[in-house]
């Protein structure tokens, strides 16, 4: 097995949305077919966020900067999709096995026919990626086109090694990337490429980019999307220090806890069973007339009355009358309500 990664270089990405388009066309994801139903967003970004039919989205954010030579603006064009965490919280909490780590590549695989639509993954993703596709009651997120990656037959593009298979061996987004901002190869190679690129950007003689950084190496113990960023991660809609919340941790404790409680209960009861073996109980008889409880094996009177010095009959009558009256009232009310 090897560890693969998608490489994305913000310094080369032109925001052409070829990837956004190719993702939908390859994965046969629909876009709205109604007339004028897409809301104008006031931005080059559309739709504004991922949704049940959109797994990959180009983001656009303008940052005001004081440096007048740069025309007072930096334009962060970002790539929003599943980051394919090395330790994916979504796969940890996924109750149905729909999300799992693919052993051959390290990507977070989606078997959407196994998805039970619980959306636990949506709740725990530090990047807020998985979306619910209501039409199929299933989760929708980037699959890293594992169908292509694992079946594909041909040559890789943009300089990466792909998986070594011939054509179609890289995800649809990588394949279609015109400016060669996307690449695909072993995670090790992609990391090396990213660090080399950051070095290059920081040291360019013209227009050096001092804020260039690698994203996806140390964040969350690493992701299988390795990014080269020109500006601060937040401007690309990426948390600077992504964290998985407490819930998945708690949830993940439930499984061992359940196992422990189960085993402890059964063990305790087993012990109880053993100590109870051979227990034999004497036959008891109650004489309503004398109100004596008699051990028939020994003939001994165990107790008289209720054992606390009270007569039984009177108490029993009173108790049952009260109970019957209460129930009857409740039932009548219920019937009235129905009528």
């Amino acid at each position: 097995m090897a560890d693969y990664a998608i490489f994305w270089d913000a310094s080369k990405c032109t925001g052409c949305k070829g990837c956004q388009s190719a993702c939908k066309c390859w994965n046969l994801l629909p876009s709205p077919l109604g007339k004028n139903v897409n809301e104008p967003t006031g931005s080059y970004q559309s739709p504004l966020d991922l949704n049940g039919n959109t797994r990959l989205l180009m983001t656009f954010q303008e940052n005001e900067v004081s440096d007048d030579k740069k025309w007072g603006v930096e334009w962060s064009i970002g790539r929003r999709s599943c980051m394919h965490c090395v330790n994916p919280a979504c796969a940890t909490v996924c109750p149905s096995g729909a999300l799992s780590v693919d052993e051959d590549t390290g990507f977070v695989r989606v078997q959407d026919d196994k998805c039970i639509g619980c959306q636990y993954c949506s709740g725990v993703c530090p990047f807020d990626v998985p979306r619910y596709y209501a039409g199929g009651s299933r989760i929708n997120k980037c699959t890293a086109c594992l169908d292509r990656v694992k079946n594909g037959g041909a040559k890789p593009v943009n300089g990466g090694t792909g998986t070594g298979n011939p054509r179609y061996s890289v995800p649809a987004c990588v394949h279609t990337c015109s400016p060669a901002a996307l690449d695909f190869g072993t995670r090790e190679d992609m990391l090396a490429k990213a660090y080399a690129r950051v070095q290059f950007l920081q040291n360019k003689p013209v227009n050096p980019c001092s804020t260039a950084s690698v994203y996806g190496d140390v964040q969350l113990e690493g992701t299988h999307v390795i990014m080269v960023l020109k500006y601060a991660p937040e401007t690309y809609g990426l948390p600077a220090d992504p964290k998985v919340g407490i819930l998945p941790t708690l949830t993940s404790w439930m499984k061992p806890l359940a196992a422990f409680v189960g085993v402890a209960t059964i063990a305790g009861l087993g012990l109880s069973y053993i100590t109870g073996l051979g227990y034999k109980r004497d036959t008891l008889h109650f004489d309503p007339d004398t109100e004596e409880t008699i051990d028939m094996d020994t003939g001994e009177v165990v107790c008289v009355g209720d054992g606390h010095g009270h007569k039984i009959r009177a108490a029993a009558d009173a108790a049952s009358d009260a109970a019957v009256a209460a129930v009857a009232t409740v039932a009548d009310k219920a019937q009235e309500g129905e009528e």
Binding site: G123, Y273, F286, R313
Partner: protein, 222 residues
């Protein structure tokens, strides 16, 4: 001839039977969801089947007791009403002695009990509570947004853990696997009758009242 007290009606027994069957099946189907490796090993169509079965079972689990209560509101009132009684000294004593008793029924003697034991109130009460937690969190999982879902998930999981504890204990005792509780299985899965001797052992106060009034007492040959 031995005297028997009619403790549970046929409807109660059927309701209980269906309810706990669905509960156990829910636990099993839920287990496949709870432990992802189990599901990963299965084909998608089977997982889908399990997922749908879980929903159908949940519907039975919720609806059957409600339907039963609507058919016989009086009986339902009686069934739940008995858990709402006042506690006395015997009840406390019983609870204190419970663990030693479980591990040494031959030596530890339990005080007489009323129609339901204090331990039963706790245990059955817990089961009812867990059921409610499971039902509510289940709805949360099905219809909630992502935030509610995460919380619901936690509660569904906690409920499942509690269910393991109380459910197994209930089966252990209710099915009469525990030596002193032999024969109790017939109360829910037999004719609903308890023998005079067993009744006096388990629910002394109640048995004596029933035997005194004789309304629910039948005599049958040994």
């Amino acid at each position: 001839m031995t005297k028997y007290i009619q403790r549970h009606s046929r409807q109660t027994r059927i309701t209980h039977g269906v309810f706990i069957s669905s509960c156990i099946l829910l636990a099993i189907t839920g287990l496949f969801v709870f432990v992802p490796p189990l599901t990963q090993a299965l084909p998608a169509s089977v997982v889908y089947g399990i997922r749908m079965a879980h929903r159908v079972l949940a519907a039975i689990f919720i609806l059957f007791p409600i339907v039963s209560a609507i058919i016989a509101p009086k009986g339902a009132g009686h069934f739940f009403g008995k858990y709402l009684r006042k506690w006395d000294k015997d009840d406390i004593t019983w609870l204190i002695r419970f663990v030693p008793y479980m591990l040494g029924p031959k030596r530890v003697h339990m005080p007489d009990q009323r129609i339901v034991k204090s331990g039963q109130i706790v245990a059955d009460g817990m089961l009812i509570l867990i059921s409610l937690v499971m039902i509510i969190s289940g709805f949360g999982l099905m219809f909630g947004g992502t935030g509610l879902k995460s919380v619901s998930l936690l509660f569904h999981d906690i409920g499942f853990v509690a269910l393991i504890l109380f459910g197994i204990a209930h089966i252990y005792l209710g099915a009469g696997i525990f030596q002193p509780y032999r024969h109790t299985v017939r109360l829910m899965f037999g004719d609903g009758k308890v023998s005079e001797s067993d009744a006096l052992y388990h629910w002394g106060h109640w048995a004596r009242e029933e035997l005194s009034s004789g309304a629910n007492v039948v005599e049958k040959p040994e």
